[in-house]
Amino acid sequence: MFKDRLIPGVALMLLSACSAGVRLPPSSPLPPVPPQAPGPIPSLPPAGAETTRTLPPPKRDETPALPLSPAAATLLAQASTQREQRQFDAAAATLERALRLAPTHPEPWLALAAVRLEQQRPEDAEGLARRALSLGGGVRAVRQRAWSLIAQARQARGDMPGAQEARARADRDS
């Protein structure tokens, strides 16, 4: 086994030694970077933190680092009930309270975006969904729900091409 690999191994060792010494001529510029492969985009690492040598490989679905606090979870459940009972203003008030308790969690923002759609406020809905994306866009489920809400919001405002774009984006993550 080892013997089979010996000669190709030595040859390749010599080749690799040569390749390690290759440098691109300084005058030829690097080509512009081609588009990133579709997939979850890593978040900006804090300045000064240990960074990997190359761009990190596309990550699989991440779960959010922090769960919702019990109080925020209770408020979200309460809002959900209010929404089922079509008490949209009350649901919105409850969700805003939940938001203040858990402002960096995408869930209250997504829930409020959905309620805003029910309240006929599609511009707000799209903005809130975008906020959810910027807070938790590393998670596939968040992306899917956010883009889906954005699609509905755009549709409600009569922006059909925009809605279609958003729906396609949502489909990529479903």
């Binding site: 081609p34 300045a47 606090s69 938001l99 308790l101 903005g127 906020r131 994306l133 984006r169």
Partner: protein, 771 residues
């Protein structure tokens, strides 16, 4: 037989005429006084001022509230320590890990929250336990009393905490009457007997020891706030007191008196009424005061400055004890109770300054309310206004401002003023508003009123417009070279840099980080003024925008609150969120009236906003605000310095984690003060940010944006091995050029076709070795 009149007809008619004229003069004068006193009385009598509250603190498991923080909040809300927790408004500390509270009954937008007793457990990260002490199921979330920060009363914005006669504790009423006006219920407005008794007592003592004024007369005096003690004044007051009693009954007069009596001064703000005095001196509602505390207030009626509890504690105490003695004489206290009460300390809050801090907030609240309610409603309907204000943030912001202005004064820069606004990056809620270094109530509210050129604070809008156009990246080369612009009128504008030097070609992010004027003007003119104006409007600037080249260097004039709105959109990743200071308005009876919901809309694409954020980070790391470079990296602090011509205004607008703050420093007379944004305003911003308590927020890379290594100075493509390399975001299809030699290691980027041949080999090789 009739008495003999003067026979001469001339003299007779002269006397008649004289008598008639005098009579009519008196009647006219009385009618005039009548009109005065009635209109004054009515305006006070039927007004229910709007009460303005700070945000309530939310208590629940996993909430990051520490034991100490909660204690401060309880103290602020006038809760007192008690062993048995019998009454609402008490708490009991059980060591550093546990606190029990009897929360008062409260009512909010979503309904009432009944009084209840709870126990909280704490650990290093905050609350870890919440139990109910009454056998009821533990609530998951409890709100504490929001602090009453003021009332909107009258067009002059005076404060009141209105009390109804029925709400006033009996000891206060009876004691007040016993001390000030024993025959209140019987006299017609003036009490000649009291005047005589007072005159006798004064004669005996050789000086003024007693006044003979009735409560009605004192009320008249308070309504006109006139400290003249002329004979004419006393005469007017006596007459008006009689008129008042003729129009109104005793209960109406007494109630108005209780809400009008002058009980102290705090800078420019007068303390009127027992309700406000109770909050001001003791931090508690009137109904919770103990008998000796009530006695102190009653005693202060005679002279609140003379008997000031903090400035003249012995006199105040003596007066209080005298009043307690009068209480005993009147049969309100027995011997034992009297002694117990007299043994108590005064009980006044040690730091009275705090409660006057809110003038600027009240001004902002009034300003916002007037958009939706007519002015009369604000003073007559008893509205309850729940705001977003955080009293802790307010204190930190004000202390930071004062501390740093003091330091500047010590270094020779005296006479400076400042303004600070703190808002939440994600929700747009305003947490703190400081209108000046002194108590802003009654003074100038610079947050709303100081309209100044924003200088370099405008630049992020120029750069955002450029990034939105799609033709620029963060490393696009700009020319920081002399520029000459023809302006209407024929003259030529040649803006220079603050340093006087020009820097030649530099990457876009550097031009912004170092705030180079020439490069910005070149960029702005290329992008086009209309685009810059459009961007400013999208960011939320509603003021008039002058469409001239000098706009690019900030000839635009804004107030600190308007700047906060603009930077709110930037901090929020390009999402315009209207700033809010009011959450809800509830009627006096508890009916929800109006809610101000969270609203947001797209103002810039997430990609451009992200790129601009990275550039604003560089301002803090290596640019004009590099004094902030040692802030925790996780805060991702970003912002912009602003300096105007001749150094008249120093601005800093920036955000870190979830907090946004805008600071302005300058002189009220607009004279040059020799400080730039970085030296004048940034120290205040840093002070406030460090003490506020900032929470990190995640900022996910938007679609189609990736990070690339570049050289931190030149913007040339670099690699992680290169010294001084930083990572900057780029849109797909774009990237840094002209790589540095150190970049050409195995940090070659992969492309969409997979690893390069070199990398394929390396991967195979490693696999072969079994790595």
């Amino acid at each position: 037989m009739l008495p003999s009149f003067p026979r001469s007809p001339g003299l007779w008619s002269w006397l008649t005429w004289a008598a008639l004229l005098t009579l009519s003069a008196v009647v006219v004068y009385a009618a005039y006084l009548d009109h005065q006193i009635v209109s004054r009385f009515e305006s006070r009598r039927w007004s229910l001022p709007a009460q303005v509250y700070a945000r309530p603190m939310e208590l629940g498991v996993a909430e990051p509230v520490s034991y100490k923080r909660l204690l401060r909040e309880l103290e602020r809300a006038g809760y007192r320590a008690s062993e048995n927790l019998r009454s609402p408004g008490t708490y009991r500390s059980e060591g550093a890990g546990s606190l029990s509270i009897h929360v008062r009954a409260l009512s909010f937008w979503d309904g009432p929250q009944p009084a209840q007793r709870i126990r909280l457990g704490f650990d290093a990260s905050g609350i870890n336990h919440l139990d109910a002490l009454d056998g009821a199921p533990a609530p998951s979330l409890i709100r504490l009393d929001p602090e009453l920060i003021g009332s909107l009363y009258g067009t002059d914005g005076e404060d009141r905490v209105l009390v109804r006669l029925a709400e006033v504790p009996e000891p206060l009423l009876l004691g007040l009457l016993a001390v000030e006006d024993r025959h209140f219920s019987r006299h017609p407005g003036i009490d000649p007997g009291a005047v005589l008794r007072a005159a006798l007592a004064n004669l005996r003592a050789g000086r003024i020891v007693q006044g003979g004024s009735t409560l009605t007369q004192q009320l008249v005096k308070n309504l006109f706030l006139d400290s003249d003690r002329t004979f004419r004044r006393k005469f007017d007051e006596a007459l008006m007191a009689l008129l008042l009693e003729w129009h109104y009954d005793k209960t109406a007069i007494l109630e108005t008196y209780l809400n009008e009596v002058y009980l102290g001064q705090q800078g420019g703000r007068a303390i009127h009424g027992f309700g406000l005095a109770s909050e001001y001196y003791f931090g508690k509602p009137l109904g919770e005061l103990e008998i000796q505390e009530l006695a102190l207030l009653v005693g202060m009626v005679k002279g609140p400055t003379h008997y000031h509890p903090l400035r003249q504690p012995e006199r105040a105490r003596a007066r209080r004890d005298t009043v307690l003695g009068l209480y005993a004489q009147a049969g309100l206290l027995d011997e034992a109770a009297l002694r117990a009460a007299q043994a108590q300390p005064l009980g006044v809050r040690a730091n009275l300054q705090r409660s006057g801090d809110y003038g600027a907030v009240l001004g902002l609240v009034r300003n916002h309310l007037l958009r939706d309610y007519p002015a009369e409603d604000l003073t007559a309907e008893g509205l309850r206004i729940y705001t977003t204000l955080d009293p802790e943030a307010q204190t930190q912001a004000r202390q930071g401002l004062v501390r740093q202005l003091d330091r500047l004064a010590q270094r020779g820069k005296a006479g400076l003023q400042g303004a600070v606004v703190v808002a939440d990056v994600l929700t747009g809620e305003i947490h703190a508003v400081v209108g000046g270094r002194d108590d802003a109530s009654g003074g100038l509210n610079r947050v709303l009123a100081a309209r100044r050129p924003i200088g370099s604070l405008v630049k992020p809008a120029v750069y955002l417009a450029a990034l939105e156009s799609g033709t620029y990246t963060l490393v696009s080369p700009l020319l920081d070279e002399p520029v000459a612009v023809k302006v209407p009128g024929g003259s030529v504008w040649r803006p220079g840099n603050a340093s006087g030097r020009f820097h030649g070609e530099e990457p876009l992010f550097q031009a912004l980080a170092q705030s180079h004027n020439a490069a910005t003007v070149h960029l702005g003119l290329t992008v086009g003024l209309p685009q810059v104006v459009k961007t400013l409007k999208a960011l939320g600037v509603e003021a008039d925008i002058p469409v001239v080249p000098a706009l690019l260097l900030g000839v635009l004039e804004l107030t600190p609150i308007e700047v906060t709105q603009m930077y709110q959109t930037l901090a929020g990743g390009g999402l315009y969120t209207p700033l809010r200071v009011i959450r809800e308005v509830i009627s006096t009876s508890g009916t929800p009236l109006r809610r101000y919901p969270l609203s947001m809309r797209s103002a810039a694409s997430p990609q451009s906003a992200y790129l601009l954020h990275a550039a604003l980070r560089q301002v803090m790391l290596q640019g004009t605000a590099r004094a902030a470079a040692d802030l925790p990296a996780a805060w991702e602090a970003a912002g912009k310095t602003g300096t105007t011509d001749d150094l008249r205004d120093a601005w800093f607008a920036g955000y870190a984690g979830d907090q946004l703050a805008v600071v302005w420093v300058g002189r009220d007379d607009n004279a040059p003060m020799g400080l730039a944004g970085g030296s004048g305003a940034l120290p205040i911003w840093l002070d406030v940010m460090r003490t506020l308590g900032v929470h990190e927020i995640p900022r996910t890379l938007p679609d189609g944006v990736g990070l690339r290594w570049v050289d931190g100075t030149s913007g040339r493509a670099a690699g992680p091995e290169c010294p001084g390399a930083i990572q900057l975001p780029f849109r797909e299809g774009s990237g840094p050029m002209d790589p540095l030699p150190c970049a050409l290691s195995d940090a070659l980027p992969e492309d969409a076709n997979g690893p390069s041949p070199v990398q394929q080999f390396q991967q195979w090789w490693r696999g072969w070795l079994g790595e």
